[in-house]
Symmetry: D2
Subunit: 335 residues, 4 copies
């Protein structure tokens, strides 16, 4: 876990967008647009493209109709055009590459690949900045879009957590091929079993987490997370979710690892969505990953209590629906 190498790879700037698949497209769209307050900026085919009011890019969430819930393509923005080329070359050399892809809405070409678990990802650099239409222009010149005060009104994309049968392999991939920093990790059995790892290409605590999937299924999503500025906004979000009939799985409460203030619900399509604030920035160039053992990790809830079993067992696609699960990997409560 040595991250003190003097000249680290810093070719990925940040998480660009996440595609979510949903078997209930209209209801999912209602959830993100009317309940969470995101803005729809484009529609094409079976997909809608959304954004938070504080996202600088045109779109950070792509919602796509599909037979089952789960993750679609996860896009990372490169730090520069040469950085994009370098990552494409390195990933391709590692045998995980799929190839160059024509750009999505608002973007130039991307290089597509799989992580070791099989999640679909891409890296891109060219991107058209969001320009708000008149009715969405903010009175703040440095805010890409006005705060519309509709529903939860999440500010921006923050991170996602993916399930993996082999957390260590995927974590190493993110460190070595994407250049991510390992922020925190949970290791059971005297460090032998890697249960969850939180990684980031930026000062954000984690933009990507890998957590152990014991279901036997592959390529699943644990959750996708959207940021609000204050803990009070998360509390308010909980009220809004309940008033809209949305099931809250856990929170609002505070995790011990990441220190984040969390609120987990399921969007109508089935994907777990987090409304999130707090946590902390990591600016240290020689950050030592925080390692938690069984006892230190506890329930994962800082203030007491425990996360429900579903938080460990449920992910999308849901194996109870798709019937693809086989047992065999230690189960863990991820972030």
């Amino acid at each position: 876990m040595d991250q003190t190498a003097h000249e680290p790879i810093r070719d990925i700037a940040h998480l660009g967008s996440v595609e979510l698949l949903t078997p209930r497209f209209d209801k999912s769209l209602w959830y993100f647009r009317d309940v969470l307050g995101m803005e729809v900026v484009h529609s094409a085919g079976d997909s809608a493209f959304l954004r938070g009011y504080g996202d600088y890019a045109s779109t950070t969430l792509k919602l796509t109709a599909a037979a089952n819930a789960g993750p679609g393509c996860i896009a990372w923005r490169a730090a520069s055009m040469p950085a994009l080329e370098r990552r494409a070359e390195a990933i391709g050399r590692a045998g995980l590459g799929i190839g160059w892809n024509e750009g999505e809405f608002g973007r130039g070409r991307s290089y597509r690949f799989h992580d070791p678990e099989g999640h679909l990802m891409e890296v891109y650099y060219d991107e058209s900045r969001y320009r708000a239409p008149d009715h969405l222009r903010s009175t703040l010149k440095n805010l890409p879009m006005r705060y519309t005060a509709r529903g939860v009104n999440v500010r921006r994309t923050d991170h996602l957590a993916l399930m993996a049968r082999d957390v260590a392999a995927n974590r190493r991939f993110a460190q070595e091929l994407l250049g991510f920093r390992l922020s925190e990790t949970v290791r059971f059995e005297n460090g032998a079993k890697e249960i969850g790892s939180w990684l980031s290409p930026s000062a954000v605590h984690h933009e990507l987490a890998y957590v152990a999937d014991a279901s036997g299924a592959s390529g699943r999503l644990h959750h996708f997370s959207l940021w609000v500025d204050n803990r009070e906004d998360v509390l308010r979000a909980a009220d809004i979710l309940v008033e809209n009939g949305i099931f809250i799985e856990a929170g609002p409460s505070r995790h011990n690892n990441s220190q984040a203030f969390y609120l987990y619900s399921y969007e109508p399509g089935g994907n777990r969505i987090e409304v999130y604030s707090g946590s902390f920035l990591i600016l240290a160039p020689d950050w030592e990953p925080v390692v938690w053992n069984e006892e230190e990790r506890g329930t994962g809830v800082y203030w007491g209590g425990a996360l429900p079993d579903s938080f460990i067992e449920y992910a999308t696609p849901d194996v109870a629906v798709t019937g693809t699960a086989q047992k065999g990997v230690p189960v863990f409560d991820p972030r």
Copy 2:
């Protein structure tokens, strides 16, 4: 202002520490320790070394007894040892270097220099991480020190704002020699007069600001800023300051540029200190600096009202005390 160069300098990781000079050392120490809730970790000579509970480094504030208030040495942490060498070399070549210096408390050697305005700065890399004594150990393994709940209990250092007779020259220095991103800038007279610029080596909106000094004095400090996690913490801080007899100059309120939620007071030595939350992260690798003209900038307060005249005129050392001021530069309300 082109920042889209494909391979930017990223040799500075973040603001490491700020030294503040104070003619009323004991009172200043009381302010930072008992009112703001910082922890004293070391004393040496005329100086005390303090930290916020969330700072990963041993110390982020050095308080030094002196005849006049003002800034002492401003320390930047390099991203690596080669990065330190590169910056030292480049700054030296630019004729701003002073030379290598034996390390301060908890740090290895540093390279000292002046910015064009004459503020004393240094870059360093080696640093001993903070290890809390038992009574200050947090129940959170990823928190360097417990939250003591004493006074305001600021979490960490955020940024500082320096006065400059020539903002543009100092801003260019920060961009070109330190590799900082220009986040926002205020330009009057159709862009001819640079009134203030907000810069950062990291995803933090600004870790350094330069604002126009019309007093004729040089090398002054506008303010030093400490972070709390939520706006409610800033409101609570206001109550605590007033109950302790500390004069509040401005806030709590919200700036338009940076979007920050601010609260400015003077520590007993005279330096302006901000308790701060909000603002926004900048992760875009091709960030376009937000440029504000006279009309857009307005009073600098997003919600209405204005900052007091002192916010423009007062800085440390105070020219009313030191008598060194000469007029000649356009005045401006900085952040």
Copy 3:
């Protein structure tokens, strides 16, 4: 100011509703419904009837088209039917009565009267409780209506402040004929000049304030105030107001008397509206009114700074519009 009489009058339960006159009815309706998030429950003639989601009564705000902005009828709910009779009898005996009136929307008959200043008021008891239609039913059985998360989404009516040429006379009226408690008062010139008084029939700090009107006009409104549950909600309200082009006159900040966290804006019709939280409950049966002199009162802002001149000079109807002002009474900044 002796309020320790052993058996006080407690015939008024609370402020029932406020009628606001507006020369820009449609715009005012937009402000209260879309920006503040109140619900329209009824329309009749030139009036719309609105409510906050937490108000137990059907309506607490009546908005009426009129030539000039200002207060319409201010309605107080009696504690019982006998209490209503007693107040009607006492007010009538005092020569301030107008007479019995057929009930407004959702209410039984009321007794109408003027306060000494000439503001129109009424007392009523019978009232139909609000029953939310299905789409507005809350998931909380004890919440009259769901939290719709539209705009500021104020919870309920809190209080109003009226201008008076003779504050003392109106304050005595409220104490002696309505049975209100005097919570706080500002007295200048060694107590000789009563500048403002804050009164209440309930544990709420003040449901009615009288503040000195120096304009020569009569029967004016200083502001009408709507409650939100947390200070953070007030901060959020400020963002929403600005994004909707609403001018913020003062705040968010904290008053010294009442301790309230305030935010004042003008609705498009011209009436000053406060979004409000904090303050404190008064449960002491022998409450001693807090008396503030010139020095103690200061600017009325706890954290520093001052209220703008308009806060003292502007009220509705606006004398600059109606041209009815004559000078003669000391001016004061009220709450």
Copy 4:
């Protein structure tokens, strides 16, 4: 449950103080003084007298060393001297009276009695208002004592919840003999089984709750509750409790009945203490009690999840310690 009688009894003004018994006096004192931030104003015999910074009375919590944790004397302040006499007479006539008692610290004489369950209570009227010593004087003239910013710094006493073998009988006692309003009640088995009732003499939602005790023990305390002004203060309190090694039993989260934002911990003596904010005022003179059945009540947590079993089973004195329990009454999760 008819509460619309035209002339209700309003002889009790509010909860005056609560006495808590503790087998670990020094540790309990540390909890209330250093962790919750209350102020010790007096000591006598085995007792310490404490207060919140916003309490107008000298003391609102009496902490007394004893063999077992549990409630001591619960004191209610009368609305006037005649009101005190009336309550004493009525309670005496009902056969629950103990007799007149010389006043506690800072108070005149009181009338002592038992509720039907056997909890010791008293009513008093005369009381010396708190006068802060210089070092505790607030800069707010209407605040009895400065905000010291020590620990959680609770503002004031809010309410207490008592266990009762027969909730209905004790609820009727509070309504009929103390004149309390029934705010909410939980009734199972088609209303036949009263599981919990929330009552108040004031606009505060509840100052007293009775909840079913199935242990067979009598006269027990469920919890004592202290107020902070904002939900964010409750979140902050949770951090402080954990950093001080205090076990959090439940919360921060939101109840459905009362709507309150709660945080329950055990003080070192064993008594359950709540840090509390939110809920809502009841000003309606004809309030209809909100009645919850099994399904509506659910887990008692608005946002989802459940309260732990201990929340239902544990009270003080703890029957596991005192060994006095016998079974026989339906169990319930109270507030």
